[in-house]
């Protein structure tokens, strides 16, 4: 990573942190957008608290999705679960045609407003990319490597933990990254069903026709997503570099 890239990342992170902790510092920039003496900076709650609860729900949902999706991915690639492999592939394909908002909206009448429907939507929709990538990662392990592992007397569990999972790790991480990004977006929409999150700022702006709110909400969410995406990408590249895969530094 070049020095410029490092500086850019640190600056973006710093900007985000300063903005959510002391948004009033930036009031001058948003004031021209707030018509009719409306407040320029979101004043119905702390941006920091919203950011943290936004991140918390994404984190919890991703952990839950990862645990289940990886377990399912392992199950359908074992001899006992092979029968479910073709169907599970089709299900992932079909599942991805469901927009996340549909999952969110259907959950509301079932569990009520608030964090619960958001968590359910995040959890269910987050399963798909992780499951898909776990399958891809586990089925891509070269048969030669597995043959060698078997030939050296590794049992099924040792092969899974010492060979298959470590080799599939970069692909699984890519799935988790995709899942996190989708979840960040879905959690933003979660504010329409009263989950605490940064979407609140945008929704408040839309309701009061305050473009300053809409823009600052949009910018914070966007910056957060880009930084998290980038950070997870770095982790993945570190994992992949260990395996000597070709890694595109620009990707």
């Amino acid at each position: 990573m070049s020095a410029r890239a490092v500086i850019l990342r640190v600056a973006a992170l710093l900007l985000l942190v300063v903005f959510v902790t002391a948004p009033q510092l930036f009031a001058f920039a948003f004031a021209p957008l707030a018509a009719n003496n409306a407040p320029a900076i979101y004043n119905q709650g702390s941006l920091l608290a919203l950011t943290l609860s936004h991140l918390r729900i994404v984190f919890l949902a991703t952990c839950a999705s990862t645990a289940l999706a990886v377990a399912l991915g392992i199950f359908v690639t074992r001899p006992k679960g092979r029968e479910f492999l073709p169907l599970s592939r089709s299900l992932v394909n079909i599942g991805q045609t469901f927009p996340p908002i549909a999952v969110l909206a259907i959950a509301v009448p079932l569990v009520g407003f608030g964090e619960k429907p958001t968590f359910i939507a995040l959890f269910l929709y987050g399963l798909l990319p992780i499951f898909e990538n776990t399958l891809a990662g586990l089925t891509e392990v070269s048969p030669q490597t597995l043959e060698a592992a078997r030939g050296m007397g590794m049992n099924a569990r040792q092969r899974l933990w010492q060979v298959e999972l470590p080799l599939a790790l970069p692909v699984i991480l890519a799935g988790i990254r995709l899942s996190v990004i989708i979840s960040l977006g879905t959690a933003t929409i979660g504010s329409t069903v009263a989950a605490k999150g940064l979407g609140e700022v945008i929704i408040a702006g839309l309701q009061s026709n305050n473009i300053a709110f809409i823009l600052q909400g949009g910018l914070v969410v966007a910056l957060l997503a880009v930084l998290i995406h980038d950070g997870l990408g770095l982790t993945e590249r570190m994992a992949a570099r260990k395996l000597g895969r070709f890694v595109d530094e620009t990707a």
């Binding site: 957008l33 029968e83 479910f84 073709p86 169907l87 592939r89 089709s90 299900l91 394909n93 079909i94 991805q96 045609t97 469901f98 927009p99 996340p100 908002i101 549909a102 909206a105 259907i106 509301v108 009448p109 079932l110 407003f113 990004i181 960040l184 977006g185 879905t186 933003t188 929409i189 329409t192 069903v193 979407g199 945008i202 929704i203 702006g205 839309l206 026709n209 473009i211 809409i214 823009l215 909400g217 949009g218 910018l219 969410v221 966007a222 997503a225 880009v226 995406h229 620009t250 990707a251």
Partner: protein, 391 residues
């Protein structure tokens, strides 16, 4: 004498589906009855939700499908069983709605309950598994899709479902429904077309000029990362400014809030898959093929049109498939900023906690994405096959 064991082999997946069917049939309500649109409802088991004869037929067929799922191994037999099951429970839910609603009561609402959804899920899983194992070709898949679409259309047109709450929601806003449908398609397909018009040349340029590649892909990658509603928000400010200060923009109907930011956002999201896949498609054309074309005296333009683009077509189409499915889903969010589309019903439904209204928006969206995915996958297969035939 041969033992019965090999013939009575229990299929694992089939057993799970049979279990699901049993659960749906005997332990879950088939429909929910509500005195009016807002109050919470009460569940009715299948045996109480249909006239005795109808209930008997449905239970017998559904159990038959469950046995078939657990014991039959041939994909065709399982597909037939699943189709039969769907052909029975889909009309049954309509009949049930008429049966449960007290005569003359116009406020009462009947919706499919968990039992119905579980049955539909079980049959759909069985059908999906059978179809996966049958490995249908592109025409076969398109055929299966048209049969399913035709059956659905028949149910809708025949009025068999008119007593269902979902269809009552539709009847109350039929005109709005079709207007939002047109808006949804315009947002999703229009932005896709615009992205193709811009993205194909951009992809071609990045393929030819490596210096452009990283910059374009990185820029579009960042756009792709930004959650939809945030991007809508970011676009609203400049568009609002444009509308307020440029009379022409306002005359063209551009406003800060509304369809314009949604359209532009969908367009921006669509660029990455189109550009990246155009590049990937062009770069995987074998170098010796291009060399041979040069050797035979094809001009640069002829090489592009006659060799490179046809060979890259399946990959480019795969990018368009991603865009189409993604846009059909994302267009629902446009309603949040007044952009219209099926999302209008979803968000209204959330506001009123009316699940049937949510479904009125969600089901067409999912159906459209699903159909789009199947159709484009089939087209991609057909172009691939074409490319092989030319070899």
């Amino acid at each position: 004498m041969p033992t019965l064991r090999p013939t009575l082999h229990l299929d694992r997946l089939g057993s799970v589906i049979a279990g699901l069917i049993g659960l749906a049939l005997f332990a879950s309500p088939f429909v929910t009855y509500r005195a009016n649109r807002i109050v919470s409802g009460e569940g009715r088991l299948l045996v109480d939700a249909l006239p005795p004869a109808g209930a008997l037929i449905t239970v017998v067929v559904v159990l038959g499908v469950a046995f078939c799922a657990a014991l039959a191994r041939k994909p065709l037999a399982r597909l037939a069983a699943a189709s039969l099951g769907l052909c029975v429970i889909f009309p049954a839910i309509g009949i049930s709605a008429g049966f449960v609603t007290p005569a003359g009561n116009t406020f009462a609402r009947v919706s499919p309950a968990i039992g119905f959804w579980l049955l539909a899920l079980a049959f759909a899983l069985l059908a999906a598994d059978a179809l996966t194992r049958l490995r249908l070709g592109p025409w076969g898949r398109l055929g299966a899709l048209s049969v399913a679409a035709g059956a659905l259309a028949l149910l809708l047109v025949s009025g068999a479902w008119n007593d269902l709450s979902l269809m009552k929601e539709y009847a109350n806003r039929a005109e709005t429904f079709w207007r939002e449908a047109r808006q949804h398609l315009w947002l999703a397909l229009g932005s896709m077309l615009a992205a193709c018009l811009v993205g194909l040349p951009l992809g071609l340029a990045s393929h030819r000029v490596p210096a452009l590649r990283a910059a374009i892909l990185n820029g579009l990658g960042i756009v792709q990362t930004i959650p939809s509603i945030a991007l809508f928000g970011i676009l609203i400010a400049p568009l609002g400014f444009l509308a307020a200060n440029v009379p022409l923009a306002a005359a063209l109907g551009i406003r800060g809030i509304g369809a314009a930011p949604a359209f532009i956002a969908l367009f921006l999201y669509s660029l990455l898959p189109v550009v990246a896949n155009t590049m990937a498609g062009l770069s995987q054309v074998p170098a010796d093929v291009i060399e041979a074309a040069r050797g035979m005296g094809l001009s640069r333009r002829q090489r592009l049109v006659q060799i490179e683009l046809p060979l890259a077509l399946p990959v480019i189409l795969a990018g368009i498939r991603i865009v189409l499915v993604q846009n059909l889903g994302l267009a629902t969010i446009a309603a949040l900023i007044g952009g219209g589309g099926f999302g209008t019903f979803v968000f209204q439904g959330i506001g009123q906690t009316a699940i049937d209204l949510v479904l009125l928006g969600a089901i067409p969206t999912v159906a459209l994405s699903f159909a789009a995915a199947i159709i484009l996958d089939a087209i991609i297969d057909l172009t691939r096959r074409g490319a092989h035939d030319r070899d």
